[in-house]
């Protein structure tokens, strides 16, 4: 009689252990937990790529492909994103960072076994700035001598300041001294492309049957709206380190689709920002949720050429009247941090200037000084945003805060993405939602947005003092001095307030427990070279538990 219940209990205990992913408080992990049997990583990748040519697209889903099938002088460290030697084994700059010299490895090869030399870099970098290539990242090469003039069709590509000293030495002459140049080099804009393949196949060189790359993976299959399959490149110089045999990228554009595929166990990891915002609070309770800081900001561009917004006191007042803590934490609440400055935190060595906090009293005083006491006579401004639930929530909160604190009325207007972008570029707005994803870990990727009168400078704010501070900073080879100059520039930007920083985004993604080597980092960049499938994850996971 005694034996039966104990056997029953044992069986129960075994069941509980087998399903160790669940407790009384509910499951620890989100959805089905069946690890893949092969070394294959399945990733939710956000959208169908526009192109597989790294010179022809600037999309984030595309970057996840480019970064793994091509490799330039340096690559990202998977945790810190600092440049690590890739095709370059060493580099040096002259005293004022005006000329950079890179020494290339001798065993670098394309996936069709063609050796890679410095001449391939020269050809590739000339290609990206040639106007005919129409590369969205051509502006990255503006830092290299004559880059901008070539892109604007004023000089031939041969005049670009890059040359092959010999097969394995690349010399880069900068337009102006550029101390942070090395931080940009892991970006795929600076990668090396197979000249022989591109000249042979033209625009069709990126099709899987023609494709040649030089990264840890090659494109094996590309079925639109279905999947892109990357296969391990056996000729990659560091192929011994690569542990995945295949990576399957799924272009699930709908956020709910990513969450569903993840929950059903069809994908192992979803990149950040591809999860449905309203569910983040709930998803956060699972162990496979990953959060962290992200190098992306959310701000409002103020049209400084229009009406009351010409007055800096009005712009400051609008900023001071916003309770950004409430917006970030109460209205959005996915881990965002309220922003008082423009550059997201986390850049090593850079201390952002202090930004003005929530201060409705001073805001009212400034508005009165500008001639609008209590908001009287203040014209009705229109705030534009692209149609999205999240943007509407923020805009409504801002509308209410300005009404309550300053007594001014604004209209809200949402628009379809293309229509909205066109409006922002022709500066046909009073206030427009804005956001920027940093391209490399340096304040200049943000601060340079407003240093010149470009199409990205949505507020239309061009200030000689700011432009001067930025050129000084970018030319300063000493890291500490440069950071101080950048800090002064940002302080001036915040003082003039052509943009109202609202919050900094937070990483929010899901990763199955068997995915190893995928670390949260500021750019949400995860070189697949370092990623692996950890088959012993339950043991490792338990060992790591306190």
């Amino acid at each position: 009689m005694n034996a039966k219940p104990s056997r029953f209990l044992l069986a129960l205990a075994a069941l509980a252990l087998a399903g160790c992913a669940s407790t009384d408080a509910g499951p620890l992990y989100f959805g089905k937990l069946v690890p893949p049997t092969e070394n294959v990583l399945r990733v939710g990748n956000g959208a169908e790529p526009r192109s597989f040519d790294p010179h022809k697209s600037s999309g984030i889903p595309e970057s996840h492909i480019f970064d793994n099938v091509h490799e330039g002088l340096t690559g990202y460290d998977p945790r810190t994103l600092a440049p690590r030697p890739a095709l370059a084994v060493g580099w040096s700059a002259d005293a004022n960072a005006g000329v950079w010299t890179f020494t290339l490895r001798r065993n670098g090869r394309f996936s069709d076994d063609t050796p890679i030399t410095a001449r391939d870099f020269v050809w590739s970098w000339r290609r990206i700035v040639t106007p005919e290539t129409a590369s969205p990242y051509a502006s990255f090469l503006y830092y290299v001598k004559n880059g901008q003039a070539i892109a604007e069709g004023k000089l031939p590509p041969e005049k670009l300041g890059v040359s092959a000293v010999d097969d394995y030495t690349l010399r880069v002459e900068m337009e102006k001294p550029t101390a942070f140049f090395i931080k940009m080099t892991p970006h795929y804009a600076f990668t090396v492309l197979p000249r022989h393949t591109i000249e042979k196949h033209g625009d069709l060189w990126t099709r899987p049957e023609n494709f040649v790359g030089n990264g840890p993976f090659v494109i094996a299959e590309a079925v639109p709206y279905s999947q892109v399959v990357l296969k391990k490149n056996p000729l990659y110089w560091d192929s011994g380190r690569v542990r995945l045999d295949k990576v399957v990228l799924i272009p699930a554009q709908e956020e709910s689709q990513n969450a569903n595929l993840y929950r059903a166990g069809e994908i192992d990891v979803v990149f950040s920002n591809y999860l449905p915002a309203p569910f983040i609070r709930k998803l956060r309770t699972y162990r496979d949720f990953q959060g962290g800081a992200q190098f992306t900001n959310y701000y409002y561009s103020l049209n400084v050429k229009r009406g009351p917004l010409k007055d800096v006191r009005v712009r400051r007042a609008l900023n001071l009247a916003l309770d950004k803590q409430a917006i970030a934490e109460r209205f959005i609440g996915r881990g965002e941090k309220p922003a008082t400055t423009f550059v997201p935190p986390g850049v090593p060595g850079y201390l952002p200037p202090p930004g003005p906090g929530y201060d409705p009293e001073t805001a009212r005083r400034l508005l009165a000084e500008a001639g609008y006491p209590g908001g009287k006579e203040f014209p009705v401004l229109t705030l534009y945003y692209n149609t999205q639930e999240n943007h509407r929530t923020v805009a409504q909160a801002v509308q209410r805060m300005w009404k309550e604190q300053l007594g001014i009325r604004i209209n809200l207007q949402n628009e379809e993405w293309q229509t909205f972008q066109a409006r922002r570029e022709r500066r046909d707005f009073d206030v427009a939602r804005d956001s920027w994803v940093g391209d490399y870990i340096d304040p200049s990727t943000y601060l340079d947005l407003l240093s010149r009168d470009t199409l990205q400078n949505h507020p239309g704010w061009v200030d000689p003092k700011y432009t001067r501070l930025m050129s000084q900073a970018n030319a300063e080879p000493d890291e500490q001095k440069r950071n101080r100059l950048l800090r002064a520039a940002e302080a001036y930007l915040i003082d003039q307030m052509p943009v109202i920083p609202v919050y900094f985004y937070a990483l929010a993604y899901m990763k199955k427990p068997w995915v190893a080597g995928w670390y949260p980092n500021l750019l949400d960049q995860h070189p697949f070279k370092y990623v692996s499938i950890d088959r012993d994850w339950p043991q490792h996971r338990l060992a790591r538990q306190p």
Partner: protein, 306 residues
Amino acid sequence: MLKFVLRRLLLAIPVLLVVVTISFFLVRLAPGGPFMEERAYPPAVIEKLNAKYGLDKPLHEQYFNYMQRVILHLDLGPSTRYLDRTVGDVIAQGLPNSMLLGGTAYLTALVLGMAAGIIAALRQNSGVDYGAMAVAVLGVSIPNFVLGPLLVIVLSLTLYWLPPARWGDLSHLILPALTLSALYTAYIARLTRSGLVEVLRSDYIRTARAKGLRESVVLLRHALRGSLLPVVSYSGPALAFLLGGTIVVEKLFLIPGLGNFFIEAANARDSFIVVGVTLVVATLLIVLNLVVDIVYALIDPRIAYK
């Protein structure tokens, strides 16, 4: 009959011309443009791109060039959204998948709808009848963007029986086909039931039964045939509609069909794809409707085309 077919085909030409013209100008009138990116291109680059795709010319010239290319060379042009594909590639990749999904949904609707209709008609006014018709009313009234996610929640995310999205094998086809077919299944069930109920009351069926024929023979050979005409006239246009791609279901289940290409192209202002896909779907609709009319004539001798 031949004359009728020829006339219909000739009539199709002005219809297609109007379709192409309207879609061409509509897409051009929308704000934004194919090269509008968050990371804005320098004006010099935009100029080169416009020149490459012939978008730098005046609109009427672009229109005539496009029509010339389509009519004389049967070339639907390049794509500005998918840089290494032409519109022809996009249609070749998308149309078969859309047709497979639409065809499966159509067959599902016919089989399930007719089965439910027959059972309901035979058990008239029973619980089964009321149950089947209640489900049919639901099927007609629930839009597919509600039904799809509901099916996903139950069958994919709770029971883990079927994948919630993607394309590749049979298991990926079931949920989208069910979602897409629900409306048609329900309609066909109601049409079958009402047709059959009426026929079963008619004199020739009583005669057939009086002759002592087996009930299955009465039903299948005599009654069903007479009751099918409304089903055929409904399901013909339904097939045309289903095969042409259904944007909502393709988007819901991430199906590499024409619908997904189309919606993305519209968002990215890729006028070549928008006009090209519209043209292909319009042609498909016209041809299938013609086929349906011909089938009517074959089934029902009372219908004759002149």
